[in-house]
Amino acid sequence: MATKIVMEALSPTMEEGRLVEWKKNEGDAVAVGDVIAEVETDKAVMELVARVAGTLIKQEVEAGATVPVSDVVGWIGEAGEKTGGKTEKVEEVERVERVEEGKKEEKAGTGEKPEKAEKKPAEEKAEEQPAETKAEKAEQEAPAERPASAAGERVKASPLARRIATERGVDLSGITGSGPAGRIVQRDVEAAKAGPRAEPATAPAAASGPTGRTITFSGEPFRDEPLSQIRKTIAKRLVQSIGPIPTFYLTTVVDMERATEAREALNALGEGKVSFNDIIMKATALALVQHPACNAWWQDDHIRYWNEVHLAMAVALDEGLITPVIRHADQKSLREIAAEAKDLAGRARERKLKPEEYTGGTFSVSNLGMLDIDEFTAVINPPEAGIIAIGRISENVVPASEGLEVRKQMKLTMSCDHRVIDGATGAVFLRTLKRMLENPLAMVY
C-alpha cells in the first residue's frame, strides 16, 4: 500500500512550506533518508527526506507550490500502485497533533472523518515514522533538556501526575520520571512546573543569590530560581511602565587600542582571520561567566539562570535577520569562535541553518559597527534578558596624562530586561566586559 509524503513541520513555527524543488522524479527509487524535495520554511531552506523506501509514484504538487503543514505532497510505494490522492490529510494532521499534544487543535475540526479504525496495522506502522521524526525535531527546539522518552513510546506516569500535567499544561514527554522504570510521579511534574531541573530544596546553593557569584560547572545546564517578592514587584511595576519587556539601556565607551593590536598580532600568525566581533563575543561570554545574573531567561514565574553560555549573534539577511547561536561560547577558543561564527553567518545567509542552530541562546550580541553606526540600542530577544549592541570603532581625541591623544574607541550599549537585570547588575557586567576588551590579556588571566 502506498505511503503518503506530507509537508512536515520543519521549524517550530512553520505552518506552511514552499516546495522549492523536487529532488526525485516520479518513478525514481527512494531509500529511507533520501532527500525527496527542498522546502522553504519561514526560517530556512530545509530538506524533506523519505521516511519509507520504495518508488516515488506520484508528485501531488508542483515545484514552487506553497503547501500547508501535513498536506500530502506525494506518494511512495511500488511502481504502478494506486494512490489515495490529496484528500487523505486529516488523519495525518491528527497524528501530528497527538504527538505535539494539541498544538493546533483548530485544524482537526475540518469535518472529515478520520479513517483510523479501518487502517491495517502495516500501514499504521509505516505512517508512524514521519510523526515520530517530527516529534524528535520538535524536542530539539528545547536546547538543553533531554526528554525522558522518545516520541511514540508510551509515557509512564501515575494517574495523579497525568492529571496535574493536564491541568497545568505540562508536556509529560519532556519529563524524566523518578519512579520505578522511569514512571513520572507527582513530584516530577511539580519540579517540571518550577523548571525541569530545579535544585532540591535542601541544596545549600539555593540560599545564595545570583549576583556576586560566578558560574560553577555543576553539570546542570541551568538553575531555576523562584521569584522573590521584590523581583515580582519590580517585574509587575516596570511592565506597567514599559512593556511587555521593561528595557533599559547602559552605554559605555571602550578603548580599543589594545584589542586592535591583539587582533593584528593574531591575524599576522596567518592561521585564519579574527574579527573584532569575534573578540567581543569571546569577551562577552567570559564576562557572562563572571556575571551569571545577566545570563538568564525570564520565565514568567521564575528566572532561569543558565550555567552554560550560549551566545546568539544577530546576522542580517537580505530579508530580515536571524540569530545563530555559538554554544558554550565561554569554553571555546577565540579561533574556534571565529571559525564557528563565520560558518554560521555564511549558512544563515544561505538560509541553511537548522532550527537548533538558531534557538536556545542565553544572551545576544548585535553589531552594526561595519555599517558605520556609532551606537544604537538593540531589541532584546526573549526569553533572554540582555543584548549588547556594538557600534563602530572610531578615532577620537581624548585627554591623556599629558595633553591630548587620539585613541580608537567603540561604544557598547547593553539592553537589559529590568525584570531580570537591575541597573547595577548590568553595569558591573558591562564594566567587566569593557575591562576585558581594553586589556585582552584579562581574558586569559
Binding site: S158, P159, L160, A161, R163, S178, G179, P180, V185, Q186
Partner: protein, 327 residues
C-alpha cells in the same frame, strides 16, 4: 471521661442495651455462670437473670439457629461466639439463614441479631485458632461487619449493632480486651458505616481496622520521625464501607497503604484497593500497597508467628514504597 478497658466498654454497652430493651438477650458458651470466657459478660447474669443471659452447650450451629429463629419473631439476640474460629461451625445459620431471611421472605421476617466474639490471632494459639474472618462475612450480601479498634468505638458500635434491624457480625480482638481508652458514659452510639481518622496526615493514608489500627499508629510514629505525615484511617465498619472517608483521605494524600490482619487473597484490602482505584484513579500517585498477614496457616512457632503478622516495620516499608522512597 472514664477510662475503661475494651472488655469493660463492651460490658457497658451490653448492660445499657439490656436495660433499655427487654427484647435484648445474650446467649453463648459460658456467658452466664462463668461471666464469659473473656469476662465480657461479667455481672450480667446477676443483674438480668437466666432469662436474658443464657448459657448454651458447645453447639455453635444449634444456638446460632436458636438466635436466628428468635430474631425472626421479634427478639434482639446477641450471640457470643467464644472465638470466630468456632463460628465456622455456625456459618450455615449465619450465611444461609440470618443473611437471607429478610430477602427470601419478601420482607415478612427481619433478623435483628448480633453475632459477636474475638477474631484474629492472639499469641501461639495455632493455625486453627488464629484467623481473621472479616472478609468472609463481608463477602455476603445481607450481613454488616464491624471490627472496632478502641474501647469507645467498641461501646458505641455494639450499641448500634444491637439496635440495627439486620444481622451484624461484630468482631472483637482477644489482644484488644485489655487495652484501655476513654469511653463516654451513657448514650454513646457510633454509627455503622463510618470510618474514623485516628491520626491526621498529608503524605499518605494508612487504612486499617481492629488490631492493625495500633500497628498503623506505631508505623505513623516512626514515619513521623522521618518527616513523613501519615494519616491513619480506621475503617471501623468493613461493610458497609465508608467510601467517602476513604476517597477523601486519598484525595488529600494521593498514596495509600492498606493494613489488615487477615490473609491477602480476596481480603478486605483487595476490596478497598478496588474502590480507590475505581473512584479515585486520578488521585493516585503510586500503586496502592497492602500489608497483610502472611498467606499461610498461622505458625505455632513464636518467631514464625511474629514473622507472619502485619507489623509496624512492614507498614513503614510499604509506606516508603508508596512514596517512592524505597523500592
Amino acid at each position: 471521661m472514664p477510662t475503661l478497658t475494651y472488655r469493660d466498654a463492651l460490658n457497658q454497652a451490653l448492660r445499657e442495651e439490656l436495660q433499655r430493651d427487654d427484647n435484648v438477650f445474650l446467649m453463648g458458651e459460658e456467658v452466664a455462670e462463668y461471666n464469659g470466657a473473656y469476662k465480657v459478660s461479667r455481672g450480667l447474669l446477676e443483674e438480668f437473670g437466666p432469662r436474658r443471659i443464657v448459657d448454651t452447650p458447645i453447639a455453635e450451629l444449634g444456638f446460632a439457629g436458636i438466635g436466628v429463629g428468635s430474631a425472626m419473631v421479634g427478639l434482639r439476640p446477641v450471640i457470643e461466639m467464644m472465638t470466630w474460629n468456632f463460628a465456622l461451625l455456625a456459618i450455615d445459620q449465619i450465611v444461609n439463614a440470618a443473611a437471607k431471611i429478610r430477602y427470601m421472605s419478601g420482607g415478612q421476617f427481619g433478623c435483628p441479631i448480633v453475632f459477636r466474639g474475638p477474631g484474629g490471632a492472639a499469641l501461639q494459639l495455632g493455625s486453627q485458632h488464629s484467623q481473621a474472618f472479616e472478609s468472609w462475612y463481608a463477602h455476603v450480601p445481607g450481613l454488616k461487619v464491624i471490627a472496632p479498634a478502641t474501647p469507645a468505638d467498641a461501646k458505641g458500635l455494639l450499641k448500634s449493632a444491637i439496635r440495627d434491624d439486620n444481622p451484624v457480625i461484630f468482631m472483637e480482638g482477644e489482644m484488644l480486651y485489655n487495652t484501655k481508652g476513654e469511653v463516654p458514659e451513657g448514650e454513646h452510639v457510633v454509627p455503622i458505616g463510618k470510618a474514623d481518622i485516628k491520626r491526621e496526615g498529608s503524605d499518605l493514608t494508612l487504612i486499617c481496622h481492629s488490631k492493625t489500627v495500633s500497628v498503623a499508629l506505631k508505623a505513623a510514629d516512626q514515619l513521623g520521625k522521618e518527616d513523613i505525615a501519615a494519616e491513619v484511617l480506621d475503617l471501623r465498619t468493613i461493610r458497609p464501607l465508608d467510601t467517602d472517608a476513604i476517597l477523601g483521605s486519598v484525595a488529600k494524600t494521593h498514596r495509600c497503604v492498606i493494613v489488615e490482619e487477615g490473609w491477602p487473597y480476596a481480603g478486605v484490602g483487595a476490596q478497598v484497593a478496588y474502590t480507590i482505584q475505581h473512584e479515585a484513579f486520578d488521585e493516585l500517585d503510586a500503586p496502592i500497597e497492602r500489608v497483610t498477614g502472611a498467606d499461610v496457616p498461622m505458625p505455632y512457632n513464636r518467631a514464625l508467628e511474629k514473622a507472619a503478622k502485619a507489623d509496624p516495620a512492614k507498614v513503614v516499608q510499604a509506606a516508603k514504597r508508596a512514596l517512592y522512597l524505597e523500592s
